[in-house]
């Protein structure tokens, strides 16, 4: 996307573009943290309404991190309310020619993975899923979370390590 510096977020075109580019990831970002679709949806709405209200003060290049910050703050306010309950839609692999045993084993493994993911600390899970599902680069996640790339690598490493330990039952 190319949003020039001199354009204004208050312009509908610019605003729409920012929304189209970022809303899905904001939604996922909060969802990974929360494990609640409704709240993730609300957070997206809230964040983008706030962006509109403050469109004159936010330059387009900063709009993305602005939206993430608002969404994250909302998340922090609500964190006490619920325990994380994650539920993932699993990609249908389409036509399979695998044996029923293999399919059963795979299903079991997916369940184990779901449980392992739910037990991860919030920041590790968010980092892991943003990378795996949203295909975000470490640098981009670092920007969203406001930490260094190295910190994201650490989270990623620890996430994988914990997942394996959880699944292998260590």
């Amino acid at each position: 996307m190319n949003i020039e510096n001199n354009t204004n977020v208050c312009e509908e075109k610019v605003y729409n573009q920012i929304f189209t580019t970022n809303s899905k990831t904001v939604f996922n970002y909060i969802y990974y943290k929360f494990g609640n679709e409704e709240k993730a949806y609300d957070a997206v709405q809230e964040a983008f309404v706030k962006l509109w209200e403050n469109c004159a003060k936010v330059v387009p290049t900063k709009a993305k991190s602005y939206v993430y910050t608002i969404a994250n703050n909302l998340y922090l306010n609500m964190i006490k309310a619920d325990k994380v309950r994650l539920k993932y839609a699993h990609l249908n692999t389409g036509v399979t020619n695998e044996t029923p045993e293999f399919l059963l084993e795979e299903k079991e493994f997916q369940e184990k993975l779901d449980n392992a993911l739910a037990s991860l600390p919030e920041n590790q899970r968010t980092t892991f899923l943003l990378n795996r599902i949203d295909k975000k680069k470490y640098a981009e996640i670092a920007e969203l979370e406001g930490v260094s790339v190295k910190a994201i690598e650490k989270r990623m490493h620890l996430a994988l390590k914990s997942l394996r330990e959880h699944i292998d039952g260590i």
């Binding site: 729409n16 969802y31 709405q45």
Partner: protein, 302 residues
């Protein structure tokens, strides 16, 4: 293995050697499986169009809500602010308002200040001071003539059109009239600030400025100003000031004809007996007078 090698591995940042080493470990297969399985994960559906529509509806709603919400608040806030302003102005006004005591022609007055200092006001004089601020500063403004008996304490200041008089605690008389300024100290020491210069007036002396000219300090023998004893006393004072004083003491209108009002007069007149007073002025000055109701004409025979 380098730090965070699992993250590096996912990012294809491991060296060939490291990959070989990593593949030899027992955990490698597990990691492989996790990655394969997690690649099949999908986040819940998110309908962007629906979300955007909802946001736009909300955007307009909050806009309207804002107008409705803010208006009454603004109204009450402005009323509250106005009331607050009035209250504080009123408070400020009453606390800073000066107490004013004034006398008219042929009138004397006596008052006691909050610190028990006494002030005697001569005819046609005005004194003002702030009652509430008195403990902070003993400040009095004077127009006319007054005799002060100041109680001991902090600096006591009298502000006049001609100058500022400051003392610590003493007895002194101040007379400020048009083109006439006299400070007489009866006890202690008085500091007179006239035209930006300070003059020390010790007890028993008098500092006088007539028509802008400072007269040398003259000695005073009395212990209180004569006017407090119903006598107006003058020592080498131009006749016009004497006549002005006569006007004030008896509430008269004084006019002159062929009289040199610049000639100096030394003497006194009684403040109660007009007949005696008129004689006290006319005889030494060798002039005649004519009294009609409350009008006096002084004239010289040629």
């Amino acid at each position: 293995m380098q730090e965070n090698y699992l993250a590096k591995w996912l990012n294809n940042e491991l060296t060939d050697e490291e990959i070989i080493q990593f593949k030899k470990t027992d955990e490698y297969t597990s990691y492989q499986k996790i990655i394969t399985a997690s690649n099949k994960l999908k986040a819940p559906e998110f309908n962007q169009n629906k979300a955007l529509q909802a946001i736009k509806a909300k955007r307009n709603a909050t806009k309207e809500a804002k107008v409705v919400k803010l208006n009454p608040f603004k109204k009450y806030a402005s009323i509250a602010a106005a009331i607050l302003l009035l209250c504080s102005l009123g408070y400020y006004y009453t606390t800073t308002l000066d107490q004013t005591i004034s006398t008219d022609y042929a009138q004397n007055n006596e008052l006691t200040l909050p610190d028990n200092s006494e002030v005697f006001l001569n005819a046609e004089s005005k004194i003002a001071y702030n009652k509430n601020q008195w403990n902070k500063k003993r400040d009095v403004s004077l127009d006319g003539e007054a005799f002060f008996k100041v109680a001991k304490g902090e600096k006591f200041t009298v502000t006049t059109d001609h100058g500022t008089i400051s003392v610590l605690g003493t007895q002194f008389n101040i007379e400020t009239r048009t083109n006439f300024f006299e400070v007489t100290c009866y006890e202690g020491l008085v500091n007179v600030n006239y035209n930006g210069k300070n003059y020390k007036v010790p007890g028993g002396t008098s500092f006088m400025v007539v028509n802008g000219k400072i007269a040398p300090l003259s000695h005073v023998k009395t212990l209180v100003p004569s006017w407090t004893l119903n006598e107006s006393t003058f020592k080498s004072i131009p006749l016009e000031f004497v006549l002005n004083e006569l006007q004030r003491q008896f509430n008269l209108t004084v006019t002159t004809e062929n009289v040199n009002t610049k000639q100096l007069y030394t003497g006194s007149f009684n403040n109660k007996d007009l007949d005696l007073a008129l004689k006290s002025i006319s005889i030494p000055s060798k002039i005649s007078y004519n009294l009609e109701k409350n009008k006096v004409l002084f004239y010289a025979e040629k």
